[in-house]
């Protein structure tokens, strides 16, 4: 499967060079994205794009769903980043203290080279009379760009007519330069343009546009293959930047702890407490889960430190705990003072036990930032952390210090209400689906003859099992003046054409309806529906760009879906974990408990953090409510009622009972037998991810993350860090082994994943009532139809015959 996806992706990459750019940028671990618009092969490119996000995990080690991408329209920013609460009044429940700044880091240069990706070796071609490609990148919040340049290296067709062919560069709509395409045959041209600093914004777009003609008067064929220009992969963007001082203020949260515009991965470190307890474990894990949610597809480097002095430049240190558990707090210069082990407020009064404290402080060298979540009691610490997890609460937080007296109780969402996925109702409208900006899907119009398709997510819940009879009643309109012979409307599901209709009303149509059958077996948790309008003008002019912007097609938000589905999932199946299921149901993770050894090692903790970060990335909710326990502290009720994730090396595994459970023999993984000989084949560095039905509750799952050694656990950790590994998970057991001694940071190829299906029987998990489950059981076993119908037929017969006998007997007795 992996190979197949890779082959498909590579094939598409050859066709569409834009993917190379994307991968390149992804490899840079930046948030620069590239999309491309090519006039000649729009469907192919679109198909490439649709697959790109799913396959990029293989190529660049980062999983990105397009739905998670921010909107790159100018001046747009993710909802999370909009500082709408910056000027919000202080809540009566907390108190704001004045803030200070941290010193900026040293100035530097950042280069985005187009050829960094190991899988990109080709070129980006611009074809046709007019073509353009787009490159998108962000500007980190605290960077002041002093100088930026774009250096393009290009080669073009010798057939181009120099005075009518040129290459232009526009940045955010501002033209920064143009060069005639007049190189001699085979020569490589270079164009270096400065980008005015004022043009650059938080979200930027570079457009490289090529006008290509092969005739002084009229290029007859817009699809002439001789019309090409190649941008070579050693083209680059160069920034000279000066980092700015960062104000320590919660009003821009998650900045400065996390910068979603950063071109480099955000660095996070947690200070280990003197004594690890459930409070620290739960609070840290919840906080890290929330960071995962904020990061979405962006990389995040995490480590554990034992002293604040170990913090590196640019790294954010999180200190979570009371002064007793985090003695380092006493040595830090913080806005609030300590008296003994108790915090004092600004009036130097002792803070009540239930008040949580959040503070931002510079590190000792004034170049790092420290987040302190503390309080006089463990409960206060938890409250402080919880404040940051709940968007509604934290949006009103500002200043350097926040005293959290009370936080709102965020109710747990229904178990199957997953934002970004399909609504739980079987009948809904397009407007019930959300855009990337989390707003209802509006009426969308495209213009032009080869406009990209209108695309929307159609993500099935992981436990959705579709029956046949799923229908989309697409409502659409289109304008007049199109060519009725060649114009069409096409609906695709993940690139698979489902239905089409000729657009043959010369005067256009309003609110027309197209019924589209959605194939039951093709709707997946990462599906997308594309609606493509192929709008051809009635007359095509030969020597100009075709006039097509007057052609339009609209998909109405009133388009209606009718689905027929059941709610059922066959477990254990690690593939479901790709969406977080079942741990992310409900999405605030309130059904999840993680268990670590009584004395967790740093390796255990890092697995815990990376796993929770991954759950954060794949879930969306207003709060995080998971719990973490040490083995001995795990309450029986929690063990019996929740999904469990147990983390630890084999020798210190927190749930030894789980190892004895049916279907799981850890021993068989670590030892392999042949005839009478038993050998240990599992290398010490091999990690195991295994999912079983919880031995304490057949409707709950137990995920075991284990290894023989800490190194094995480190390998395990990478499964959840690297998208390329995580999105390969399948079957019920995965063995992860390192194939080379190269540093792990080099990427996925260092690992080999072995997938095993050990459970002999699958269990069906479902949130539906037992009556419906009975039906689903029958539904899943069609062969029961025959005995079922015969049995029911016999029952009907028996009862009917008995009633008939009684009627006849009565009749006879009356006759007598």
């Amino acid at each position: 499967m992996q190979i197949f996806i890779a082959v498909v992706c590579n094939a598409l990459l050859v066709v569409s060079c834009c993917l190379r750019f994307c991968c390149l940028i992804m490899q840079e671990k930046s948030t620069v994205h590239l999309t491309i618009r090519m006039r000649r092969y729009p469907p192919l490119i679109l198909a490439g794009f649709s697959l790109f996000w799913g396959s990029s995990l293989l190529l660049s080690g980062r999983a990105i769903a397009q739905s998670e991408l921010p909107d790159y329209r100018q001046q747009a920013a993710p909802a999370e980043a909009i500082p709408e609460s910056r000027q919000s009044p202080t809540s009566p429940d907390k108190q704001v203290l004045p803030s200070e700044q941290v010193q900026p880091l040293a100035a530097g240069q950042y280069i985005v080279e187009f050829n960094r990706s190991p899988v990109v070796g080709g070129r980006l071609q611009l074809r046709g009379i007019y073509d353009e490609s787009r490159l998108r990148f962000t500007r980190p919040r605290h960077w002041q760009i002093q100088k930026s340049q774009i250096a393009l290296r290009f080669r073009h067709s010798p057939a181009l007519y120099a005075t009518r062919s040129n290459l232009s560069v526009l940045v955010n709509g501002v033209s920064v330069g143009s060069v005639p395409l007049n190189q001699k045959e085979g020569k490589i041209g270079t164009a270096v343009y400065s980008i005015p600093s004022h043009v650059l914004q938080d979200y930027n777009e570079v457009v490289v546009a090529a006008l290509q003609n092969n005739s002084p008067t009229c290029t007859q064929d817009p699809f002439d293959p001789s019309l090409w220009t190649e941008l070579l992969p050693d083209s680059k963007l160069v920034f000279d930047y000066q980092p700015q001082p960062i104000r320590l203020d919660f009003s821009q949260y998650p900045f400065p702890l996390f910068d979603e515009l950063s071109l480099n991965p955000n660095q996070v470190a947690y200070l280990l407490p003197s004594r690890i307890d459930e409070t620290w474990l739960t609070a840290t894990t919840r906080f890290h889960t929330a960071l995962g949610r904020l990061a979405q597809f962006r990389p995040l480097n995490t480590r554990l430190v034992s002293s604040p002095t170990q913090v590196q430049a640019g790294e954010r240190l999180m200190i979570i705990g009371t002064p007793q558990t985090q003695p380092a707090l006493k040595a830090l210069k913080l806005p609030l003072q300590l008296q003994g082990d108790r915090w004092l407020d600004e009036q130097r009064q002792k803070l009540p036990d239930d008040v949580g404290v959040l503070m931002l402080a510079p590190s000792a060298d004034q170049k790092g930032i420290i987040l302190v979540a503390t309080g006089n009691t463990p409960a206060a610490v938890s409250k402080a952390v919880q404040f940051l997890l709940q968007r509604r609460d934290r949006q009103i937080g500002s200043g350097q210090t926040i005293l959290v007296k009370q936080i709102s109780d965020v109710p747990t969402p229904p178990i199957r209400e997953w934002p970004g996925y399909l609504p739980t109702n079987n009948e809904f409208e397009l407007r019930d689906l959300k855009t990337h900006g989390d707003t209802p899907f509006p009426d969308v119009t495209t213009r032009g003859s080869d406009a990209p398709p209108i695309e929307f997510d159609f993500r099935a819940l992981p436990d959705d099992h579709f029956l046949s009879g799923n229908v989309l009643h697409l409502r659409y309109s289109y304008g007049p003046q199109l060519n009725p012979l060649t114009s069409l409307l096409e609906v695709q599901l993940d690139g698979l054409p489902l239905a089409g209709r000729k657009l043959d009303a010369v005067d256009g149509a309003r609110q027309a309806n197209l019924r589209v059958e959605l194939p039951a077996d093709k709707i997946k948790p990462n599906s997308k529906i594309q609606v493509r309008f192929q709008l051809d003008p009635r007359e095509r002019r030969s020597c100009n760009r075709p006039v097509d912007q007057h052609l339009w097609g609209t998909v109405h938000a009133s388009s209606r879906f009718e689905l027929k589905r059941e709610n059922i999932a066959r477990v254990p199946d690690l593939k479901l974990l790709q969406t977080g299921y079942p741990f992310t149901a409900p999405q605030d993770l309130s059904q999840l408990a993680l268990v670590v050894p009584d004395s967790p090692s740093p390796a255990d903790l890092l697995v815990l953090l990376t796993f929770s970060e991954r759950l954060g990335r794949v879930s969306r909710a207003e709060s995080v409510k998971l719990d973490v326990y040490r083995a001995q502290q795990l309450p029986t009720v929690v063990r019996d009622e929740r999904h469990l994730v147990a983390i630890g090396t084999a020798s210190q595994f927190p749930l030894p009972d789980g190892l004895q459970a049916e279907g799981f023999t850890l021993r068989s993984l670590f030892e392999r037998r042949r005839d009478q000989a038993t050998i240990r084949t599992l290398p010490d560095v091999e990690g195991v991810v295994k999912q079983i039905v919880s031995p304490w509750n057949r409707d709950r799952l137990l995920l075991l993350l284990t290894a023989q050694t800490a190194t094995g656990l480190q390998n395990l950790q990478d499964v959840f860090i690297q998208d390329s590994l995580f999105y390969q998970l399948r079957e019920d057991t995965v063995l992860i082994s390192q194939t080379s001694t190269q540093p792990i940071a080099e990427g996925a190829p260092n690992y080999t994943l072995e997938f095993l299906q050990q459970a002999k029987h699958h269990r069906r998990l479902s949130e539906t009532p037992w009556q419906e489950r009975t039906w689903q059981f029958l539904g899943g076993n069609w062969f029961l139809l025959i005995p079922g119908m015969l049995t029911l037929g016999l029952l009907l017969y028996g009862i009917a015959q008995a009633s008939l006998n009684r009627y006849t007997a009565l009749d006879k007795s009356q006759e007598k």
Binding site: G469, L790, A800
Partner: protein, 856 residues
């Protein structure tokens, strides 16, 4: 191996029969298990049914993959088939009914499964045109499914009645019976036969009176003849001054004038059997019984039988009703009055204001009212009237249209299913609803033809996604319902004939029922023409005009198949299914159209395959045999030996109860059967009125059991469809009258032969065969020149016949030469065939009879 098989326990030895035995055991044992539940309170029963319904939901709604559904369909059909075979081996009717009920259960489940699938996945409501056809077809299917379920209900139990013997009661205690024979414009001869038979009904004298109720005041001459006939026969003619409410009004008027306890109502062409009252009046010992209905039966072929030339191999249209549905209705005390061949209790009918007059099917309406008052009806399945079916298709249509209109009127006016004013039980309501909604088949039937046609011609898809999957859902529904219905219907309605009956009537029934629903007061009673004779082939275009247009369109739509397959290969499944559907429809449509292709009637009178004792008298000899068939004009008689008779004999026919008639008959032909019996075809000649009356009584009245009471042929769907398809060929075959083989008395009479061309010379000859119309003689020696003079068909010969060798007064006869054969191998013997000239018949016949008599 042998040892091991021998060591099998006895119960395993017949392992092949184990599944069948096991199933029979299950079928037998299952109902007693549920009897406690059946006797439990209603709410528990409702709960039980609710649980069953709940269990059924996933089974009905599950939609597996296509191949999986295919397997389900196949297994269900095979199981159904197995049950049908199991039933065929049954002699016990109770077990047969149980297997039928099991099949009903299974068929209900498969039908509901199809219904759910059809509703959920195949409604095509994309645009108004598609939606329109889709909804119409869906409604048609709903009607069909509703009808199917109602039919299942009606046939859950078939009630077999036995007559109640009256002999233990003194005749004085028997109820008085009036026999009503309403008439309007029918031939007096037809009424006469009915009146005669009515008078001959076995019932104590003084307890029975026969009334002719003549409503034909517009035909005074006919009325006079009727009056004369009544006086002659000894019955009473009742007339009235108006024709209000037609037959119903006529009877109602008579009800006030007569005084009998019971009234036997007979259509004027329904000749009753002698036993009709003895068999039926006993049921009235139950004081709640208001009505006893017996089946209608027609001794002449109806248009379907005659025009499709079924030769009596296919049950006629009303057999299903009278042999199954009425008996099923009777189970639920819902057997209804059919207008004739029924005995009603006069007082009860008067209680409801007489025969109902609001609708044109006054009979059913009257029964509805009687049931509503709590009275009971009895259906006794013994054919005791011999009636005349409409001869022509147009008359048949007229009759059916009247029933359709009447039933629709009852449905509209009385609403038997939901009308709270009617005090009917739920089963009675269902039975009446089934009966009154039956004639709405017109438009649904047409939709089945139109749906595939509009797809092929216009691309309008009435069933969305029609394909193999649809078939896999529809086939179990269709085939299992056929298998289920096969059990009660196998002798009374053959596969696909229902479709033909309905197609033939679809337009007329559709329009009439629609109009009756809109305005139930439209339309009047029309008298069905009967006793007509079709003499030559003709096509009744008017009756099947639209059906014919539809057939042409259906045939034309088949031409679109190649275009579809080439232009739209993705629709291949739908096209092929529609095409097959269309072909199937086309056969049925053409067969239905052929019903209007009137075939000539070959015989003067309808032959009844009755087996009567017959005696042939000729001279002093008598031969006894039985009739193979008999009619008012002749008979086919089977004799154990070849009778040496001339071509005219005297025949004596004896009825089942001993009634006799003596007739002169001409022997048309005779032949030997493979068993060396003699089969003699007789034609009755010189019938006097009294002979005709006696003959009618023997044939129609003196009957213990009509031959159609039990049909031996069973339905076989494939054969049935083949037979229907072959009707296209049969209908255009030329008729060939059977070759006549002459019958003459074998004699040896000396004669002399004279001829004008021979002068004074005469030749001796021997008459070897002699009949009343011709003879055969043999000459041993004749001058060859004399032979040259003889020209067949021109030469007249004179014969001098000696009755004895020493006959002093030989008789002379004149005959024409018909044929002459010289046999050189036999010494130039000459054989001559002579016939007596018709113009001398009067003069010579007595002489011939004298000769025949003299030789004994």
């Amino acid at each position: 191996m042998a040892r091991s098989s021998l060591s099998l326990p006895p119960r395993f030895r017949h392992w092949r029969h184990q599944p069948a035995e096991w199933m029979m055991g299950l079928i037998d044992q299952l109902p007693p298990m549920f009897e406690p539940l059946a006797q439990s309170p209603v709410f528990i029963q409702l709960l039980l049914w609710g649980c069953l319904g709940w269990l059924a939901v996933p089974l009905l709604t599950l939609r597996p993959a296509i191949w999986q559904q295919g397997i389900v369909a196949l297994l269900v059909i095979l199981f159904g088939n197995w049950l049908v075979r199991l039933e065929e081996g049954q002699r016990d009717t109770a077990m047969s009914e149980r297997i039928h009920l099991l099949l009903v259960s299974l068929s209900t489940l498969t039908t509901l499964r199809y219904w759910y699938y059809r509703t959920s996945y195949t409604l095509s409501l994309e645009n108004w045109l598609n939606s329109c056809f889709c909804i119409l077809l869906y409604a048609a299917e709903l009607y069909a499914i509703g009808t199917l379920f109602l039919a299942y209900f009606q046939t859950l139990r078939i009630r077999e009645r036995h007559s109640i013997d009256l002999s233990h009661q003194p005749p004085e205690a028997w109820l008085n019976v009036d026999v009503y024979i309403p008439t309007y414009n029918e031939d007096v001869a037809i009424v006469r036969k009915t009146a005669l038979a009515a008078l001959a009904i076995n019932y104590p004298a003084g307890k029975k009176r026969v009334y002719i109720l003549d409503d034909g005041r517009k035909y005074p001459e006919r009325r006079q003849r009727l009056q004369a006939m009544c006086e002659e026969l000894g019955c009473t003619l009742l007339v009235r001054e108006d024709n209000l409410h037609a037959k119903a009004g006529n009877i109602n008027t008579a009800l006030e004038k007569t005084e009998g306890d019971l009234v036997l109502i007979l259509d004027c062409d329904h000749i009753p059997a002698r036993c009709i009252l003895e068999e039926t009046v006993g049921f009235f010992t139950n004081p709640k019984v208001a009505l006893v209905q017996t089946p209608h039966w027609f001794y002449n072929p109806d248009p379907f039988e005659r025009n499709l030339l079924t030769g009596g191999r296919v049950p006629v249209g009303n057999e299903l009703f009278y042999k199954v549905l009425q008996k099923g209705n009777d189970t639920w005390n819902a057997a209804f009055f059919c207008g004739s061949a029924a005995i009603i209790r006069r007082d009860y009918v008067r209680q409801i204001g007489g025969i109902a007059t609001e609708t044109v099917t006054e009979d059913c309406h009257t029964a509805l009212r009687l049931h509503s008052l709590g009275y009971e009806s009895v259906y006794y399945d013994k054919i005791m009237v011999a009636g005349l079916a409409p001869e022509k298709f147009s008359s048949y249509v007229g009759q059916q249209v009247r029933w359709a209109r009447g039933m629709a009127q009852i449905l509209r006016l009385e609403n038997p299913l939901f009308n709270r004013k009617l005090k009917l039980t739920l089963p009675q309501r269902l039975c009446y609803f089934s009966a009154t909604s039956h004639f709405f088949f017109g438009f649904p039937r047409l939709m089945y033809v139109i749906a595939p046609m509009v797809y092929m011609l216009l691309g309008i898809s009435s069933v969305r996604g029609l394909g193999v999957e649809t078939l896999f859902y529809a086939l179990p529904h269709i085939l299992l319902s056929m298998q289920t219905n096969h059990i009660p219907y196998k002798h009374v309605r053959f596969s696909f004939w229902n479709e033909i009956y309905e197609f033939a009537m679809s337009f007329q029934a559709g329009i009439v029922t629609l109009l009756a629903l809109i305005n139930p007061k439209l339309g009047s009673f029309n008298v069905t023409d009967k006793g007509l004779t079709v003499t030559e082939r003709s096509f009744d275009f008017d009756s099947v005009r639209y059906l014919l247009y539809l057939s042409i369109l259906a045939a034309a739509s088949l031409l679109a198949i190649p275009f579809w397959l080439v232009i739209s290969p993705q629709d291949t499944q739908a096209v092929l299914i529609n095409a097959l559907w269309n072909v199937f429809n086309l056969f049925l449509l053409l067969a239905a159209c052929l019903v209007a292709f009137e075939q000539p009637q070959l015989r003067d009178a309808h032959r009844l395959p009755r087996q009567l004792t017959v005696r042939l008298h000729s001279g002093n000899q008598t031969w006894t045999g039985i009739t193979r068939n008999v009619s008012e004009s002749g008979a086919l008689v089977l004799l154990e030996e070849w009778p040496n008779v001339p071509d005219e004999v005297q025949v004596e026919l004896v009825g089942d109860y001993g009634a006799r008639v003596l007739l002169d008959a001409h022997i048309v032909r005779a032949k030997a059967t493979p068993l060396l019996q003699a089969e003699v075809a007789l034609q009755f000649v010189h019938l006097t009125q009294s002979q005709q009356d006696d003959l009618a009584l023997v044939i129609y009245s003196d009957v213990k059991e009509w031959y159609s009471q039990n049909r031996q042929e069973s339905d076989n769907p494939i054969d049935s469809f083949k037979f229907i398809a072959a009707s296209l060929r049969r209908a255009f075959q030329e008729f060939r009258p059977e070759a006549k083989v002459k019958v003459r008395k074998q004699v040896s009479l000396s004669t002399f032969l004279f001829c004008e061309g021979w002068g004074e010379i005469s030749y001796p000859a021997t008459i070897t065969e002699l009949g009343l119309k011709d003879l055969r003689l043999e000459l041993e020696a004749i001058d060859p020149e004399a032979l040259d003079v003889l020209v067949p068909a021109r030469t007249s010969l004179s014969l001098l016949v000696f009755r004895q060798p020493d006959d002093a007064s030989p008789l002379s006869l004149i005959a024409e030469l018909k044929q002459i054969d010289v046999l050189p191998d036999l010494g130039h013997r000459v054989l001559m065939e002579l016939s007596f000239p018709p113009m001398l018949e009067k003069q010579q016949k007595d002489k011939i009879r004298l000769i025949l008599k003299s030789i004994g």
